[in-house]
Structure formats: C-alpha cells, structure tokens
C-alpha cells in the first residue's frame, strides 16, 4: 500500500511546498508520539489507523489493562446461546504486529500541562497528541438500594467480561416460572437498543429451554426506546406472554432494590423473589477522562464535531462512548467511525497528511429471535457544530422473514468485519 510519504517522495517538492505554508507543530525530539487510552472499538481503531496510515512516521502507544477484549456488542448473542464466549473474545497481537506499541497497564492520570500519561506501574508516557477512548463508567448510586457491592448478585453486564458470563450463568439457572426484572438505563447510555436485544435473547434462551412460564419485566425510566415498535412486534410474535415492558408512567419509578432479598419496589408494584435482576444503571464517561477535566456537567466529554478533538484541550481527542457525539448513538460502530476521523485529523496535524471533511456512520443490528434481526442507522456530519444526522434508516414492522434473515446475515458479517477493522 503506497503511503502518503511515498506520494510526497514521488511528487518531489510539490506537495511539501503546498503544505509548507502551515507552521509545523512544536514536537518532541524524534517522531511525533500519540498515546491512546483504551483498547476497545474506539481506541484500538484509532491506534490501528494511526499506525497503518502514518506508515511508521508516528509512534503509537495503546494503553489497555486487559490482555483480551471481550466485545460488549454481540455479548447479547452469547447470552442467547448464538455465540460462544471465545467468539466475542479478541487479542491485541495483530495490532502489535502492525506497529502499535501495546502496554497492558491501567492509565491512572493525565497531566495535560506536561502532556504525559501516568500508568499504574509508575511509568510515564509523553504524548504530542492523546486519544482518550475509555468507554463508560456506571453510576452505581443511580438505582436506590443497589451499588457496586451488589453487582455479583444483581449483575449489570454493561461492561463485557466476567459480568457477561455471570449474567449467562444466572439466566441458565432461572427455573420455569421464574421472574426476571431488568431495570433499563436512562439516556444517554451505551448501546440504545442493547437492553431490548438482551430481553429478546433472554426470552429466546428461556423458550429454548422450555421455560415459557417465566416472565421478563422491564422497568424503564424512558418513555420510548430504540426500535420500540420492532421489538414489541417481535416479542409478541416470538415470546407471547413472556415479556412486559413498563413505561415510567406505569411503574412510577424504581423506589428501592433489595439485592439480598431479591426484591424490587416500584411506585406501582413490588416484585418479590426475583430470580434474576439485571440492573443497568445510568452511565458517564470513563474515570480517566473525567478526572482529567475532559467531561462537562453531563458526565460525558464535549468534542469538536469536525474532528473529535476535545473542547477542553487542543492536544486531546475523545472518541467512542465517552464523547458527546450529537446524534450518533454510543455504539461500537460509531466509536470505530469516530476513531478514523480522529486518526486522520491527528495525522493531518502531526505529519501534514491529507485530510477530508469528517464523515461519520453508524448501523446497529439487534437480534430478536433466530433469523429475525432489525437494524437502525445513519450517516452524520458536522452540522452547526454538532454531529447531526444527514440521513437515517430503520427496519420496518411487518417485514418479510426473508428480509429479517438477510438482516441477520449482515449482522454476522458486520461483526467479523468490524473486529478485523479494529484489531487487525
């Protein structure tokens, strides 16, 4: 693949002369350094594209404590028995092979003044530009009576990994006739259709195991949710009588949760002997971003819509779930899309690479039942300083089985494609 540096060599002085009018940024000795915090769809994509497209002209370091990445996307498919845990587990060796220096440490602090990141083992990484993609943190105090100390008893599984396995084990242990209660999250949160795909997958697993007397109650703080008509159509069709979604006007709010007793009290009803409680609390940007002053009052990080650059610091880019990305949902697809824009803009700043106007995209597929998948998505651009929808699409109710099956095939194909794009 011919790199831009080779372009420049082939063109002789022309290209350099054209860009010579720009003042070169003051850089540390040697190659410009980019540090990326977070090895998920946002950070890993950014690191990969920086290394790949700068062809060695930029020193890229990815900081990610975990040695393996378990994708939150398609973790619902593992829950429903459609994928193995191995199929949603990925390693960083291909990224390393592509020239990214992967450091398996937690980043503990960002010194924005010195342009340094401190790691848990005491090491310090200097950066010319920093990409922050830490994902979300859970607001453990947002559901009365439930907290971090209860997440083994009442899992959230909103960060993939051990929680995912735990939720699956608890689901498998639900007896026929058992009650499952999900407390859905308020906006804005990671993966808008996620909770409802999860409901579908739980219902499917129960149905497959012959446990159709079981019930799933969804207590939602939201009056509406992503692809609502499609999910409700699907639940009626595939899991009649098994799923009850309650709007806030009906349940009147979750008043208290008793993890020990397995009780959930709402303004409307008290649920006792809950066999499985899935509490998905309110969310915010990952701690490293908030501690560095990159977030605003919402708990998420404001960015420049044309570049993903942090509005709080000109040397830092915030991408993925931690960012405030206008009309874009918090999804892996969106994170990957944003990462590519950030990587391009950073190359433009550091090595005078060619840049193009930012274009963003997202598609979210949700599996409702075998061969019955729906999707929602769009294309986005900088619209008056916010990332706004240019064009969107969503599946329709009453679509043919053939179309829904094709949509599921796309879903599976997309997963293989995006993990190859993120991890190499």
């Amino acid at each position: 693949m011919i790199s831009r540096r080779q372009f420049a060599k082939m063109a002789g002085g022309t290209v350099l002369a054209a860009s010579g009018a720009l003042a070169l940024p003051a850089l540390a000795q040697g190659k410009p350094k980019v540090v990326v915090l977070g090895g998920g769809p946002a950070g890993a994509t950014a690191a990969r594209y920086l290394a790949k497209d700068a062809a060695g002209a930029i020193e890229v370091t990815l900081v990610e404590p975990a040695k393996q990445f378990i994708t939150c996307f398609h973790s619902n498919l593992y829950l429903g028995g459609f994928k193995s845990f191995e199929q949603i587990t990925h390693t960083y060796d291909k990224l390393s092979a592509q020239g990214v220096k992967v450091v398996h440490q937690a980043a503990t602090a960002i010194d924005r003044e010195k342009k340094q990141v401190r790691l848990a083992d005491g090491a310090v990484l200097a950066y010319d530009r920093l990409v922050v993609g830490p994902g979300i943190d859970l607001k453990y105090d947002s559901v009365p009576g439930w907290g971090q100390e209860h997440e083994e008893v009442m899992p959230h599984a909103w960060k993939a990994g051990p929680q995912t396995k735990l939720l699956r084990a608890k689901l498998d242990a639900v007896a026929d006739g058992g009650l499952i209660v999900m407390v859905a999250p308020p906006n804005p949160y990671r993966c808008p259709p996620g909770p409802y795909e999860r409901v579908s997958m739980m219902a499917h697993a129960l149905k497959k195991a012959g446990k159709t007397k079981s019930k799933i109650i969804v207590l939602d703080p939201k009056a509406t949710f992503s692809k609502q008509g499609l999910f409700q159509e699907g639940w009626e069709k595939h899991y009649p009588g098994m799923v009850e979604w309650l709007a806030p006007t009906v349940h009147d709010g979750v008043k208290s949760v008793d993890p020990k007793a397995g009780t959930i009290v709402t303004g409307f009803e008290t649920y006792k002997n809950v066999a499985l409680a899935n509490i998905i609390p309110a969310q915010m940007a990952g701690k490293i971003a908030r501690d560095a002053g990159l977030a605003d009052g919402s708990g998420y990080c404001p960015i420049d819509a044309a570049s993903m650059k942090s509005k709080m610091d000109p040397n830092i880019y915030v991408i993925g779930d931690a960012s405030i990305a206008g009309d874009m949902p918090k999804s892996a697809f969106a994170a990957n899309s944003q990462a590519k824009v950030a990587a391009m803009m950073i190359r433009g700043e550091l090595v005078q690479a060619r840049t193009f106007p930012a274009r963003y995209a997202n598609t979210c597929w949700s599996l409702i039942a075998p061969d019955d998948t729906v999707k929602v998505g769009g294309r986005y651009e900088d619209k008056d300083g916010k990332i706004g929808t240019i064009e969107g699409f969503v599946s329709k109710t009453g679509e043919t089985a053939a179309l829904r099956k094709q949509t599921q095939e796309e879903n599976m194909g997309w997963y293989d494609g995006i993990v190859a794009d993120i991890f190499g």
Partner: protein, 116 residues
C-alpha cells in the same frame, strides 16, 4: 488547510500511482477513495473475507460504479447501501471504485473463510 488540500489533489492526480493502476480515462482520487472506504471496510472486509456481506475487493471499477449507482437510485434493494450511496457524489463513487479495484491488485488474495 483547504488550500493545501486542493494542492494535494493536483499532485495526487499526476502521481505514478494512477499509472500503477489499470489505465483509466480520468485519474480517480484513490486517496479520497481510501478515506471514504473507512466506512465500507467495517462490513466489506479489506482482506476479502466475507461472511454474510459480499467481498468487494478487486471489483472492476466500472462494475463497482454501476452497482453503487443502482443503490443510489434505489434500483437495488438494501436500505443500508441505499443510504450510503445516497450520500456519495459521482467523484466519491469513482474514487471508491478505483480504490477497491486497486486493493485487489495490491493486497494478498483473500484468506480462507473462518476465524480471521
């Protein structure tokens, strides 16, 4: 930055890379194609591997243009592709076509289906 961008375009158009590709009537902007392809490769894998989503690596440029235009004018059915194609200009499509055709020549042949 804008001024420099146009200067880039001029130089890119005359570069040897265009000659390295199959000769075409107009030198398409492969670098633009590569940038736009960022959106495509999450589904249409650069490696050529396919699973539920067809590979478009190495498609002849004129064929590529016909198919994308068919989505653009909604003559071909797929709401994701129609939405993508609706946003593309003629120049974008030519650039993408050139890029994916070039990829077929420059990269290794697709690896066997399975875990990538």
């Amino acid at each position: 930055m804008r001024l420099s961008w146009y200067a880039w375009r001029l130089s890119v158009a005359t570069l040897a890379l265009s000659a390295a590709l199959a000769p075409s009537a107009h030198a398409a902007d492969v670098a633009l194609g590569e940038y736009l392809a960022g959106e495509c490769v999450t589904c249409h894998q650069r490696s050529g591997n396919s699973n539920g989503i067809p590979s478009i690596i190495g498609w002849p440029a004129d064929q590529f243009e016909v198919v994308i235009n068919a989505y653009r004018w909604k003559e071909r059915d797929n709401v994701v592709m129609q939405t993508i194609a609706a946003r593309l200009t003629d120049e974008d499509i030519q650039a993408l076509a050139a890029y994916f055709e070039a990829l077929g020549k420059l990269t290794h042949p697709p690896t066997p289906a399975g875990k990538s």
